[in-house]
């Protein structure tokens, strides 16, 4: 199976053949997966320039795809994202790889669990968190054809199957005790953790805009307004949107994600990190039991 990055490169390369607006800006990373053409611009290890150049290309009328490893795309040049795209009011497609801890042996410098939360401080961004390589193509083709601001967060972590790409959340399983929202590649773990629990499972490959209406529908169909949010990045990133969606209900909301309290100075595997953050099936199952077990009492 192709990785998300491979699908990304292939989809963009194909789009460049038919859409003269599409242009790629890189900072060395992934230079080998794109063709050599004047529309693939490798600026060297210069991430501020990478984002600024992308915005300048957009100002000239093109559709820039700006790509690097997540911390170097979102965190290091964050003010360029805020000002050069947002304040200038131009569009672009930012595509990251590495996610929260895809390569944990590299340590904290190559981990960006806060990327979605950071983007979320800025107005007007669509955020896609695909959970399978087959979801990348449709999400990306739509993004390339538009003129808005899109953040596409790619990962080596994937679910066992893809779901059709829709604008809102997908109902994967229906139940009575409450709702679990699984974002991107955590879905398999959520399904395993909820196998014996009578809950609705919603799947989101797009978290901004947040499908508040889809969540409300699922909650109203359940017996309890209990929602467990499971995100593969910083815990609680979307909690405010869950609580806003359920503002007129006496709802219980709990969030799982990459924990905030301390920097985890450990290497090992991505699965080790899942376990440390209660994001493996065992950790999610424990949270599911606390929230939905014994008649829904915590």
């Amino acid at each position: 199976m192709n990785t998300m990055r491979e699908v990304f490169a292939r989809t963009v390369t194909e789009a460049m053949e038919t859409d003269p607006r599409v242009v790629v800006v890189l900072a060395e990373i992934s230079r080998d997966v794109f063709p050599t053409t004047d529309r693939v611009i490798n600026v060297g290890i210069r991430e501020q320039a990478m984002v600024g150049v992308g915005a300048g290309l957009a100002l000239s009328g093109l559709r820039p795809v700006v790509h690097s490893y997540a911390p170097f795309l979102v965190e290091r040049p964050f003010e360029q994202i805020k000002l050069d795209f947002g304040h200038q009011d131009v569009g672009g497609v930012l595509v990251s790889v590495g996610a929260s801890y895809d390569d944990p042996g590299w340590g904290r410098t190559h981990q960006a669990p806060g990327d979605v939360a950071l983007i979320d401080t800025l107005p007007g961004w669509t955020v896609h968190v695909p959970g399978h390589p087959d979801e990348v193509g449709p999400l990306l083709r739509t993004a390339l054809a538009g003129d808005d601001r899109v953040y596409l967060r790619l990962s080596l972590r994937t679910n066992s199957r893809a779901y059709p790409v829709t604008e809102g959340f997908t109902v994967v399983r229906r139940g009575r005790s409450g709702v679990v929202v699984a974002v991107g590649p955590v879905l398999d773990r959520v399904l395993e953790a909820t196998a014996d629990t009578d809950v609705t499972v919603l799947y989101a490959a797009t978290v901004r805009p947040f499908d508040a209406e889809g969540l409300r529908r699922a909650v109203h169909a359940a017996d309890h307004a209990d929602v467990l949010l499971v995100e593969p990045y910083l815990e609680g990133t979307s909690t405010r949107l869950v609580t806003e969606a359920l503002a007129d209900l006496p709802a219980r909301v709990r969030s799982l994600g990459v924990q905030r309290e301390a920097e985890l100075r450990a290497y090992g595997t991505a699965e080790d990190h899942d376990a440390a953050h209660d994001l493996d099936a065992l950790g999610v199952a424990a949270a599911v039991r606390r929230m939905f077990g014994h008649g829904g009492q915590a």
């Binding site: 320039a49 100002l59 000239s60 000002l83």
Partner: protein
């Protein structure tokens, strides 16, 4: 548009004064005014009725702080109704202490945070080139602004890519705390730019410098204002 006659440089003090309340001194001290005037009067292929024309030249004011000279020039050249200058910094005015491209016709970028305009200009120059245009891209930065490392990413990149359509004007009023030993122009020259230094208050010298031949390289004009 209520402009009934073509305005000239002699109108700048009054236009400037509509913002600051002072026609006598402040405009003359504005370090960016001479080069802004030369650009809009003699160099740039821009016009108020062509602000969305893809074929127009692009001028990016990266040093957005103290934009009164810029607004005054835009008003003198018909991009802004001069009466808008009276609204400067009011709640619903398009004219703030930093320019905003979304609010002001003819303004190509919003600026204020230093070090953003030059990388954006590199991208704009690349994009116009990919689309086969002949436009020039001119970006104005300050010598203090050059402290921001993002500029040096862009200077090296533009030099290596040989972005001929790109011109940087550095208004050098020696405002940087740590300075540039050997001169600002040397920073560009070593990266392969054509670089020239002129008296930033001499409009003819500025004009000549902005027309400096440069084949296969970007151009840096250091306008010294002391």
């Amino acid at each position: 548009m209520t402009v009934t006659r073509e305005m000239g440089f002699a109108d700048i003090p009054e236009l400037y004064g509509r913002m600051t309340g002072d026609e006598k001194h402040e405009w003359a001290a504005a370090s960016t005014l001479p080069v802004l005037w030369v650009l809009y009067d003699r160099v740039l292929d821009v016009a108020p009725d062509r602000v969305d024309d893809p074929a127009r030249d692009r001028f990016l004011l990266s040093k957005g702080h103290g934009p009164m000279a810029y607004y005054a020039v835009l008003a003198a050249k018909g991009f802004l109704d001069p009466s808008l200058l009276d609204t400067w910094t009011a709640w619903d005015s398009p004219l703030g202490l930093h320019p905003d491209r979304v609010l002001v016709p003819g303004v190509e970028i919003g600026s204020g945070s230093l070090g953003h305009g030059l990388p954006i200009a590199v991208g704009t120059a690349l994009g116009l080139g990919l689309q086969g245009g002949e436009q020039r891209v001119v970006v104005l930065v300050g010598d203090g602004e050059l402290d921001e490392g993002s500029n040096h990413e862009a200077i090296a990149l533009a030099g290596r890519l040989g972005l001929e359509r790109l011109t940087v004007v550095v208004v050098d009023n020696a405002s940087g705390t740590h300075g540039w030993p050997g001169g600002v122009a040397a920073r560009f020259a070593v990266e392969g730019w054509e670089a020239t230094t002129v008296d930033g208050r001499d409009q003819d010298a500025l004009h000549e410098a902005l027309l400096t031949p440069h084949v296969g390289t970007p151009l840096a004009v250091v306008a010294e204002v002391r």
